[in-house]
Amino acid sequence: MIGATHARRAASGHAALPNRERLRKVVTTAASYQSGGLAIALLLLCLFFALASRQFLSVSNLTVVLLQVAPVGLIAIPAAMLLLAGYIDLSVGAVAWLCSAVFGILVVDHGLGPLPAAVTALLVGGVWGLLNGVLTTRLNASPIVVTLAGFAAARGIGDALTGKVTRFGFGPGLGWFGNGHILGLPVPACLFLVVLVVGLYLWYSTPVGRHLAATGADRESARAVGVAVRGLPFWAYTATGVMAGLAGLVIVAQLDASTVSIGTGIEVQVLTAILLGGVSFQGGRGSLWGVLFGVLFVGILTNGLVLLNVGPFYVDVAVGGVLFVVALMDVAYQRLEKVPVAAATAEAAPSRNGAVA
C-alpha cells in the first residue's frame, strides 16, 4: 500500500516527542493566523507605547486608532484578496479621490441628497474596479500598468471635475457617517469591522480564500481543477474599487469636505499593511488575520509616534527602524517555524490503510 511505511514512521516520530509536538502545534496554529513575527512585533509595539505614554491604552485613544485605520483597512481587505491571487491595484487612492469628488459635486453643485450621491460615488468606484478587472483578467493586460494608469487618470479626472476646488458643508447626516458612534464604536470603525468579518468569512469559511491562493500559487493548475481563475480576481477588483470609494466617503464625512488631497498615498499604506501582514508579493500565500495585524500595526505606529510627539525629523527613522525589526523578526520566525511546518504533517491522524480495491 502506497506510503504505508511512511505513515507508520511519521506516527512513531510523533509519539516520541509528545511535549515538543504540542508546543509545535501551538506555534503552527498561531502561525496560520498571524504572519511571520508580526503579531509578536505588534504586541511589543503596543507594550512599548503603553509604557511610554499613559494615554496609549486609554479607551478613547484605542477608539481613535480604530477610527484612523478604517479607510486603509476598508481597502486592504479586498486588496489583500487581489494580491493573494497575484494581482495588484495601485489606483485605490486616486479612485478614493474620484469618488469623493463625484460625491462633492453631486451634493454641492447639483443639490442631490447625500444618500443618492454616495450611491453614485460608490458606483463610480465599482465601475472603475470593474474596468480594472476586465482589462487585467479578460484581456490579460498588465495589472501594474493598468492600475498605474488609473492612479494617474482617476486623480486627473477628479481634479478636472472639481477644478481642484474643495466642496464642503454636507450636513449632519453625512457627519454621523463620519463621526457618529454605534455602541460606542465610531461608525467608520464599524464599517471596517463589518467588511473585515465578511472578508474573514470569505477567506476562511468559503472556498474563495483557497481558490484565490491557488490562483496566485499556480494559475494553470488552479484552472485545471476548475477554479475560476478569471472570475475571482475580477470580483476582487470590483470590490476594491467600491471599497476605495467607501474609504474616500469616510474621509469626506469626517472632514465634512471633499478636498483634493484625499487618497494621496493611501495605496502605499494599503500595500504596506498587506505585505507586512505576510501576503506574498507573488501571490499564493497569506493570511487575512495577518493583514488585520498589518493594518493595526501601521495605524498604531502612526498614532503612537504622534502621542510621543516624536519630532518630525525622527518619525521616518522610527518607522524605518520598526520595519527593519519586523523584517528581522520574520527571519527569526522563519527559522523557528521550519521545524513546526513539517511537524504539522505528523500531528493529524494518518490515513489508515484500506484494503486494496
Partner: protein, 258 residues
C-alpha cells in the same frame, strides 16, 4: 466492451497547432463506457495535447468533441469536469502551497450541513479531511497525513494524490496522462487495479503510457499517435503484443484504422 452501445466520448477530426508545430492533425477517437483505451506514442507525438483537448485545458483549432453524443466546446477544464471528465495531468496540477486534502477538494469543496451550510458556502474542512482520508483508504492509497502541503511530498506521493483525486471523482470518463511514471512497483500495481475497478464501474478510461506491459495488461483497445496523427487504432485481442505496438509507434509497422 460495449461496442454496441453508443460511445460516451467521440472526437471528430480534431486538429491543434502551436504556430508551425502541428501537435494534432485530424484525430478522431471514440471511447465507450467501461472501456480502457490505451493511448501510446513517441515523446512529442501529441498525446498530452489530445488529453488536454478532452479535459478542456486546450481548445482545438478545428474538430469537435462529443460527450454522450452532445457536442461540447469546453472553454475551461471546469466545464469538462461538469460533464464527468476527470484528468490526471502529466504535470499533476497540484497546488504546492495547499494541503493534500485541500488539493483533492479544490474546485468542489464540501459544505457544512445545517440550514446555513450550503447557502453560505461554509466549508466543511474536517469533513473534507475525513472524506479524503476515507477515499484514499478505500482506494488503498496510503499517504502522509492529509494536512501535509503538496510541496513536501515525494514525486511518487504527489502522483498518488493526483490519481486518487481523479479516481475518487471520476464517474464517467477518466483521462490519465502517464499516471505510473513516478510510482513504485506496488503503487503501480495498485493503479492498474484501480483502472480495472473503474472499468467495472462502467467508467471509460483513457490511459496514456509509455509502458507497453501496463497498456497490454489493462487496455481493451490501443490508439497509436505519431507526429500528431492517429496512425492506428487496434483492439487488444491477444494477437497484438508489445513488439507490435512498438512497431506501430516507431512507424516500422504501418496501419491505419478508424
Amino acid at each position: 466492451m460495449n461496442a454496441n452501445r453508443p460511445p460516451i466520448l467521440q472526437l471528430d477530426r480534431v486538429s491543434k497547432r502551436y504556430g508551425p508545430v502541428t501537435a494534432l492533425c485530424d484525430v478522431s477517437l471514440t471511447l465507450h463506457a467501461g472501456e480502457v483505451l490505451g493511448l501510446i506514442g513517441d515523446n512529442g507525438a501529441g498525446k498530452s495535447t489530445l488529453a488536454g483537448v478532452i479535459s478542456g485545458t486546450h481548445r482545438p483549432d478545428t474538430g469537435t468533441v462529443r460527450v454522450d453524443g452532445r457536442e461540447c466546446h469546453f472553454r475551461n477544464p471546469a466545464e469538462a469536469r461538469k460533464v464527468g471528465i476527470e484528468t490526471v495531468f502529466q504535470n499533476l496540477a497540484l497546488i504546492p502551497t495547499l494541503s493534500i486534502a485541500d488539493n483533492v477538494y479544490l474546485g468542489r469543496e464540501l459544505y457544512r450541513g445545517g440550514p446555513a451550510g450550503r447557502p453560505l458556502h461554509l466549508l466543511d474542512k474536517r469533513g473534507m479531511r475525513t472524506a479524503a482520508a476515507a477515499g484514499f483508504a478505500r482506494l488503498g492509497v496510503t499517504l502522509p497525513p492529509l494536512t501535509t502541503k503538496a510541496a513536501a511530498l515525494s514525486g511518487g506521493q504527489r502522483q498518488s494524490v493526483s490519481i486518487g483525486r481523479a479516481v475518487m471523482w471520476g464517474s464517467h470518463i477518466v483521462v490519465m496522462d502517464e499516471p505510473t511514471a513516478a510510482l513504485g512497483v506496488e503503487q503501480t500495481e495498485l493503479v492498474l487495479s484501480l483502472i480495472e475497478r473503474l472499468k467495472s464501474h462502467d467508467v471509460g478510461v483513457i490511459l496514456i503510457s509509455h509502458n507497453m506491459d501496463h497498456v497490454l495488461r489493462v487496455a481493451d483497445r490501443v490508439a497509436v499517435m505519431r507526429r500528431g496523427r492517429k496512425v492506428a487504432d487496434v483492439p487488444l485481442d491477444g494477437r497484438v503484443d508489445g513488439t507490435h505496438l512498438v512497431g506501430l509507434i516507431t512507424g516500422a509497422i504501418e496501419e491505419s484504422r478508424r
